[in-house]
Structures are given as C-alpha cells and as structure tokens.
Symmetry: D2
Subunit: 144 residues, 4 copies
C-alpha cells in the first residue's frame, strides 16, 4: 500500500475509536514500521498532582503499539500484551508516542514504543513500552 | 487507618483525578491489600469493533495497581511499571478491576490486577496485569 | 491423556533439555493446568552474595510457564514472552516453581508462575511471573 | 571510575557468580551505559529441539540488565523486574547480550537488552528485554 493510503487508513481506524476521540489522539505518522500518535494535554487527562495520568500514557503506548504492528501485519490486528515503565512525570503541552517494530513474523510483531512529553519546545521520554501485536483470527483470544 | 477512612481517602484521590472522572471510574472497595475499581461501559470507551478499548482496560489495571499498592504503602505512591495481557474482547455493562498485593516491602509493593467484564450478570476476566508500586520521594523518577 | 501419561511425557521432555539437566530441575507435578518444577539449590546456582542467581529463578519461571502452557495446549509449545518480578533473595534448600493457567485459547495460553524457596521447612515466594505460551507452527517466530 | 577499572570490577563480579561460570558467560564490554555479555553455545545450554534454552537467553538478559544498571548506579544493584520477548530460535556459535540504559535516576535505572545469536558470522536478534535495576538498601526486597 502506498504511504498516503496507509496513513489515511490509519486515520480512519483512529477516527472509528470513540475512546481515541475522547482522549483527543491524532496520527501524525503511519509508515510501515514507524507510527507517531500525538495527544494534546488538557485538564481532563491529568491525575491528582497535575501530571498526565499514567492511564493516558498507557493508552498512548498501547495504541501506538497496535498501529505500528498493523503497519507491517495488516489492519486486522490486536495488542496481545505489553509492559510499560514510567520514567518521569509528564508535564507539558503534548504527548508524542513513537511506535517501532523490533521483529515481525507472519502472525505477530514485537514492537516498542517511546512516549515523550513536549514541554516548552523540549521533548523528554516519560515512558517506554514493549509488546506483542497479533493478527486476528477466529481462534484468537485477544483484545485491544 | 480504619477501613471507612481508608475508602474515603481513596475516593477523594480518585475524585481528584480528572482523567478518572472522564473515564467514569468509581472505587467500590479499598481495604488494605484489596481494591476494586469499577467503570460503567459507555460508547465513548469503545474501539472500532465495539469492544472496550484496550486503553481503558490498561487505565483500569494501572489505577487499581496504584491504589492497592497505596493501601499498604500509604497514599504517596506511584506505579513504576506493569505488564498486561489481554485475554478476550470486553463486551458488557461494566468493567471491574480487582487489585491485590503479592508482596510488600517498605518502599515498594508487587501487585496484581484481574480486569473482569460484567455481561448479563456473568463476570469474565478480560485482562490480567502485574506491576510494581513505589513510594514517592525526592529522588523518585516515576509517574502514574 | 491420562495423568500418568502426561507426567511421563513431561519428564521425557525435561530429560531431553540438556540445560534443565545442568540446572538439576525435576518435574514433581504435571497435570492439566498446574505444573510444579523443583530445583535443589547447589553452589553452582548462586550469585556473588550467596543467593540463588536471578537467572535460575528466571529459568524456573520460563520453564514452568512453558510446561503448564503445554499441559493445556499440547506438547508442541513455546514461551512467547513473560515478565518476572523478584520479591526477595532466594536462600534455602530448594526452588519450587508452580505454574498455573489463567486463560487458554486454541493457540495460546496466558499463564502465571510463583517461584518459592524452601528454607528450614518454610516456603516463601521469591519471584512471580506472568507470560504467554503459544503453539508452534511453521509461521511461528518464538523460542524457548 | 576509569573504564579499565570499571571492566575489571565487572569481571570480578561475574567471576564471583558461580552460576555465570556454569553458563560460561564473559563480559566483553562494560562502559557506563553499555554492557556486552557473551556466552559460547555448548550442548549443555540447549533444549529438546537443539535450540539454546530460553532460560539461557533469560539469564543473559537478566545479567546484562543488572550489569548495565550497575554501570550507572554503582556496583550494589539488583534487577527488580524485567520482561522478555523471544523473537526466533537461537542456533549458532555464541550468544551476545547487549545491555543499554534508557533512563537512570539516583536509585533506579530502566534498561534494555537485545540478545543476539552469532551464526556463521551473522548476528540476529533472538530476544529483547526491558527492566528495572535498583540500588540495594536495607529495605530493598529484590534479588538477582
């Protein structure tokens, strides 16, 4: 698929996720093997200390992992599992989740995601994740 | 702390998390070593196939882990890291995240969370998570 | 398969793993959904402080996860991924790894393993793991 | 500490781990933020299909993570937790585990490890891991 079609497909899928619309996520890159998902930080995404809630960073990692897995496996994929390490409090204007593929087979891809926060023009990594994306089939028992 | 005070403190913290209010989470149990967080399923929490978005299940696991860690370590805690496996698509009326403590020291607790979906009166586990909750201090570099 | 045949098959596979023989692991339970792997602690399994090396606990968790996955999926399985939390230093006479199944589909099982250490007749959990076991097929890209 | 002293300290610690000697691991790089651990493949490290046992790859990842964490935090460190994804069967002459630091604070470092296999002069990544290394203290409850 051409790159322009690929990003249009990605945007359609994101648009069809009502939770992604609630969060306010947009797809700014969707190429085979690299995906960037961005989330403008707003008050409704914070926790009690004024930092972006860990659940928002998890959402960003989970979704960037699914999309980047789909960029090499095709659109019918699910996140099977992932782990995330939080590195520092996220304070700033925008969350930027960068998904990349470490290794892809026919049925699954192992992917990575660095979650950055943009603050006063400077990007800092605030979380990092690693997980498995699988193709859907009638016997699959996964969900994302 | 008495149990009634413990759950009131938990509810105050949850209430102070604007993202938890956006999601619609409530705390139905907050005892030392066991926490239950519930989320009524609504359209804005879904993904493109009509299932609850994985990011919502991740939020539920992350937050139940943080709260149950806090139930034994005290209120000033953060999730340092966790991993989650998605087990089946989440369809139904309510998400129920049950956090328990596996092992607690002075500065950290290793906790588990089973995320269930309630559908037509039946509960099924749709995700399971394991992670580390740490006490905050000036040198900490974590976030939730 | 009858239980007696199941444990005999398990013991044959363990016997065919030269690394498991180097470690000195034995299978003391191998039923559908629960497996126990035991390792007598000897000097060659320690690290610099006299504790059992984390790599031994990881081996125990990895192998108990694979075997318990195989107990429900069939013998041709691999560990796709897992995470492990170390809980306390392992000092004692024997390592006991208890694998259980959380959820199994046709092609994969999500499993858990508690790794205990037996010391002066008392068992303490020293590590806990969670992971995914998958059936092997020509397109699989996993290894254990 | 100078680099020559750093690698000598690393080699002394590895030498003091009897399990690392049983495995046959050597440290070929130990600089602040990057560590390489190598393991010649021998029959006693295999599983039933002739591949390197997953437990050996886990040991390599665990130990490279601990050492690279120690390269920035100081020698008294432990692996608190990690997750590993197996990517392909490991067949060849040598296992090469490359540990790097993603983010370090005063008390903990989040690190990554790529585990490669060298076969006929070609290196392929066969596993990838991410984990948390912490400094030891009287209240710590971790182990490696």
């Amino acid at each position: 698929m051409e790159n322009r079609n690929l990003i249009n497909l990605g945007k359609q899928i994101l648009e069809a996720q009502s939770f992604s619309k609630l969060i306010g996520a947009t797809l700014t890159k969707f190429a085979a093997g690299e995906v960037i998902l961005e989330i403008p930080i707003k008050d409704s995404l914070l926790q009690q200390n004024g930092f972006v809630h860990g659940g928002v960073l998890s959402y960003a990692a989970d979704n960037a992992l699914t999309f980047v897995g789909g960029s090499v496996l095709g659109p019918h994929v699910l996140t099977s599992e992932y782990k995330i390490n939080y590195l520092r409090p996220a304070v700033g204007e925008k969350i930027i989740a960068i998904g990349t593929v470490i290794h892809a087979g026919k049925r699954q891809a192992v992917c990575r995601c660095d979650v950055q926060v943009l603050h006063h023009g400077e990007k800092k990594t605030c979380a990092t994740a690693q997980g498995t994306i699988v193709t859907m089939d009638p016997t699959a028992n996964n969900n994302s």
